[in-house]
């Protein structure tokens, strides 16, 4: 078990390294291949009326004149060992993990990320709670009442749910429940209140994105749960459970759901991992200042240190979620052996 985890952690490290190299290459290699020069890259990060000399200074300062390997090495070193940054009157040390300083705002990326993380976590966890409860409950009921009016209605709604782009439902929800004054039941995104500051406002500001996001996922989970339940409820061990004289609820919950939930657990872990790295579309639709919005803004501004930071944190969540899921799987399903 311990060796397994160590091996997985090493592999996670390798994966994150690969992700960082690829990110770096996309942002530095692709434009260079397309003919960009150090100066033209630097021109993005100086003011509107910068002179050629200023641009040259910026290129030097941002290190664009060094070979790409050196630039990457500097970045990687920052994460492992921290980095120094000349902010004008002095030099500041940014301790590891240091994702560097924004090309645009000249501020360190890491505190920014840590600042955005609570928003994304709030969004993801809140939505996850709703969608798991709603999705699994609907799926179970649908499976048990297979073919009934409820089942058909629920599955139609679920299919519609997975077929609707979130940036469409999101806008519609904003227009109907937020912008439209008569039904203004919630403040739209953009105004995030930390949970520890005011839990009520926290929920109030997130309720629309939660529901929209949860609807999308709940739909998928309802379909998954239903399929899983139908399969499990046809398993021989369910028949055995009934033959023992168990009441139906115990049969469904203890024996049926337990079996059906295992694959859902896997998917849930991965979904949550992906979401924690930034619900890009949801956050940009609701202008929530989370990791996803941060990523989009950073990409549009071509602010590489931010992009690198947010990508790595996002990838970290995916890798980490994968690991947790695999460990949990072994706990949930005794047949699984780690090794």
């Amino acid at each position: 078990m311990v060796t397994y985890i160590i091996r997985r952690l090493i592999w996670a490290f390798v994966m994150l390294t690969i992700v960082s190299i690829v990110t770096f290459a996309i942002f530095f290699l692709v434009p260079r291949l397309a003919g960009a020069t150090s100066e033209s890259l630097a021109a993005r990060y100086v003011g509107r009326t910068a002179s050629a000399e200023q641009v040259k200074i910026a290129a030097e300062k941002l290190g664009f004149n060094d070979p790409l390997v050196v630039q990457y090495g500097r970045f990687a070193k920052g994460i492992v060992a921290g980095a120094d940054y000349d902010y004008g009157p002095g030099v500041e040390h940014c301790p590891a993990p240091c994702f560097g300083y924004s090309f645009l705002t000249r501020l360190p990326v890491w505190p920014d990320l840590m600042d955005r993380l609570p928003v994304t976590i709030s969004l993801a966890i809140g939505a996850a709670v709703i969608w798991v409860i709603a999705g699994v409950a609907t799926g179970v009921l649908s499976a048990l009442k297979r073919g009934s009016v409820f089942d058909r209605a629920a599955m139609s709604v679920a299919l519609a749910g997975v077929s609707l782009p979130i940036f469409f439902t999101g806008i519609v929800s904003l227009v109907v429940f937020s912008y439209g004054t008569p039904f203004r039941i919630t403040a739209p995104g953009g105004s995030f209140t930390p949970f520890d500051e005011n839990p009520a406002m926290w929920a109030y500001n997130l309720i629309l994105p939660w529901i929209t996001l949860a609807f999308l996922y709940a739909a998928g989970y309802a379909r998954l749960t239903r399929a899983g339940m139908l399969e499990t409820m046809n398993e021989d061990y369910i028949r055995t459970a009934r033959a023992k004289g168990l009441n139906e609820r115990t049969v469904v919950v203890k024996h049926g759901l337990r079996g059906a939930l295992t694959p859902i657990l896997t998917i849930f872990g991965l979904d949550l991992g992906l979401l924690l790295g930034g619900a890009v579309l949801t956050e940009s639709t609701y202008s929530l200042p989370g990791m996803g919005k941060y990523a989009i803004d950073a990409i549009l501004a071509q602010d590489l240190p931010k992009v690198m930071g947010v990508t790595l944190v996002a990838a970290f969540f995916v890798v980490f979620a994968n690991l947790i899921v695999d460990l949990l799987y072994a706990v949930v399903d005794p047949r699984v052996r780690l090794g």
Binding site: A43, G47, R48, A50, G88, G90, D115, P289
Partner: protein
């Protein structure tokens, strides 16, 4: 902690007031506004009222004003900010040598002393400018402000490595020692050749060349004093030391900040600021549509960026007379235009350029930019109406309905030797939907006379440096037309025209905002204007330059920007300051 609690209590009071105001007979004027005879009228608020008078005049203190920004400041640092709204807002927490008067309309264009006791005194043929500082002005920590702090502030702003967002006026015009690199990298260099501080309350600027309007430099935020021992360079924007009536309480970059009263600010030294509210709450990166809705609903006071109502709110505001009466529609000193690049054949022929001028459907362009109210006024020349030297003239009347004079356009095409039209490209910044719409509108309207345009979107960040603004690239890739825009740093011809019509600013390496105007005569006139010390004669020269550029058909003016601003339901003293083309943030108070 105490301050914080007070802040919360005050917010509650604002809400209570707002509710009371809503409950009370709406439409009727409030007692304070009828009492305040300052505006000379207590008539009901009407459309554009704040352009010419103070709406809801009041001297009531207290309350919190709530501002929101659809984007974010480039920087809150006085040495590193280059947004008009930021210059408007910065007066709340920073005092520069001079400032634009907090007054209605044209009066706002007037410079008044702020830190300085008086306007600058020129000497040595306007190559040296001297300012005397008022005494008794303190930083928020109680340290007195001296001329050394102003000098340091200008010196630090020199370093564009640390402050890339700012302007380079001081860098370019002051007589810096050779190889000077700014306050951080040239720490022990004597800079007296550029700025002298003979005593703590005198500051003298030495210029490389005569400059008749240096007073405009003296109002730049870079002259807002920065205490050397508190300066943290690139991080200073997180902890700015205030000299104005308000200081930062909480500042979370990317999210917002709050301002509270600065008790070290002495109103006796400051005739310009009323400082009515107890504080300001500012949130950044807020959904622009939401800003509109919240201002209309009354739970937000000001869209700080002054970008005006978004298209979605526009329909509502304009179709409801009661709502419209609560809006103002100022014209700013920004021109949206299309550069017609004479380097790209057949546009090297003036007749072909004229054909573009005639064929353009100005109404479609106006709609593309946002329509009559949120787009702008149809522009016929370059200088915006608010800038001295502006004169109404129209060399290429686009038909009676402003939709283009196709007959004239065809004539011009024939004269150009392209009777059936020609093909070229039009570039625009990909991130800007309005530029895209304008380019599409031109594509349509020029198509009517056979001028076929292909749209070429380029990333905003590289637009001038790599594509449209790089002469070699533009010529090679036949970018005959390029969408462009310019806003004056201050209301005078130099501030508006110099960067966009002087052919000498065009660099082969790209990056210039002037893409198309290459006229030696224009350059000559600019030199003349910069030397001219008489204001009226100078303004007349800028008028001439404007005409000359239009005669050459180097640019197709689209619109002079207008924005539809919504007045806050809770604020007092609402008026538009023409220097900023938006509400003046210094005068506003809370009902």
């Amino acid at each position: 902690m105490l301050r914080r609690r007070l802040g919360v209590a005050a917010t509650g009071a604002v809400l209570a007031l707002a509710v009371a105001a809503c409950g009370g007979g709406s439409g009727s004027s409030t007692p304070s506004s009828s009492g305040g005879a300052a505006a000379g009228s207590d008539s009901k608020a009407e459309f554009n009222a704040a352009l010419t008078q103070v709406v809801n005049p009041s001297d009531k203190k207290g309350g919190i004003l709530k501002f929101a920004n659809g984007g974010d400041w480039d920087s809150l640092d006085p040495g590193d900010t280059y947004y008009g709204y930021s210059w408007n807002f910065i007066r709340l927490y920073g005092r520069s040598l001079l400032m634009f008067k907090s007054a209605v309309g044209k009066e706002g264009n007037q410079l008044v002393p702020d830190l300085a006791e008086d306007m600058g005194t020129p000497s040595d043929d306007a190559k040296t400018w001297t300012y005397k500082l008022k005494k008794g002005i303190k930083f928020e920590d109680g340290t007195p402000v001296t001329s050394k702090d102003v000098k340091y502030a200008v010196e630090r702003s020199f370093d564009k490595e640390v402050f890339p967002d700012g302007y380079t006026y001081f860098n370019d015009f002051l007589d810096w020692p050779k190889g000077y690199k700014g306050a951080y990298k040239s720490k022990d260099v004597n800079t007296d050749s550029a700025i002298e501080t003979p005593d703590d309350y005198t500051i003298v600027f030495h210029l490389k060349q005569p400059l008749s309007n240096f007073d405009y430099f003296a109002q730049l935020p870079a002259t807002i004093p920065v205490p050397k021992d508190k300066d943290t360079g690139a991080k200073y924007k997180e902890h700015i030391i205030s000299t104005g009536p308000y200081k930062f309480e909480k500042n979370e970059i990317g999210k917002g900040f709050t301002l509270v009263r600065n008790d070290k600010w002495d109103p006796a030294t400051d005739p310009n600021r009323k400082a009515l509210p107890d504080g300001y709450e500012v949130s950044t990166n807020v959904n622009a549509d939401d800003i509109d809705n919240r201002i209309i609903a009354g739970d937000l006071d000001v869209d700080v960026a002054g970008i005006g109502a978004q298209p979605a709110a526009l329909g509502r505001l304009l179709s409801d007379p009661a709502m419209k009466a609560n809006t103002d529609n100022p014209t700013s000193t920004r021109l949206w235009y299309t550069s017609i690049n004479g380097n790209v054949p057949p546009l090297d022929n003036i007749e072909c350029r004229k054909a573009v001028e005639y064929a353009a459907d100005k109404v479609a362009l106006q709609t593309a930019w946002g329509g009559e109210f949120s787009g702008g006024q149809i522009a016929t020349s370059m200088l915006p109406p608010a800038i001295p030297g502006h004169e109404d003239f129209n060399l290429y009347p686009p038909g009676a309905d402003n939709k283009g004079d196709l007959a004239k356009a065809k004539e011009a095409l024939a004269a150009c030797g392209q009777p059936n039209g020609f093909e070229t490209n039009i570039s625009y910044r990909a991130e800007r939907p309005k530029e895209k719409a304008a380019a599409e509108a031109l594509q349509q309207s020029l198509g009517r006379v056979g001028i076929k345009l292909t749209l070429k979107p380029f990333p905003q960040a590289d637009y001038f440096a790599l594509y449209a603004g790089k002469p070699g690239y533009a010529k090679e890739n036949k970018i005959g037309l390029a969408q462009n825009g310019w806003m004056s740093d201050w209301p005078d011809g130099f501030g508006f025209l110099q960067q966009i019509v002087d052919s000498r600013v065009i660099r082969d390496t790209g990056g210039s905002s002037n893409i198309s105007v290459r006229d030696p005569e224009v350059d000559k006139l600019i030199d003349q204007a910069m030397k001219e010390t008489d204001t009226n004669a100078r303004n007349a020269l800028w008028t001439q330059i404007d005409k000359k550029v239009m005669e050459g058909a180097y640019v197709l003016p689209n619109v002079w920007t207008k924005t539809l601003l919504v007045r806050s339901k809770n604020a007092t003293n609402i008026f538009v300051n023409e220097a900023y083309g938006m509400y003046d943030y210094l005068g506003m108070g809370v009902k």
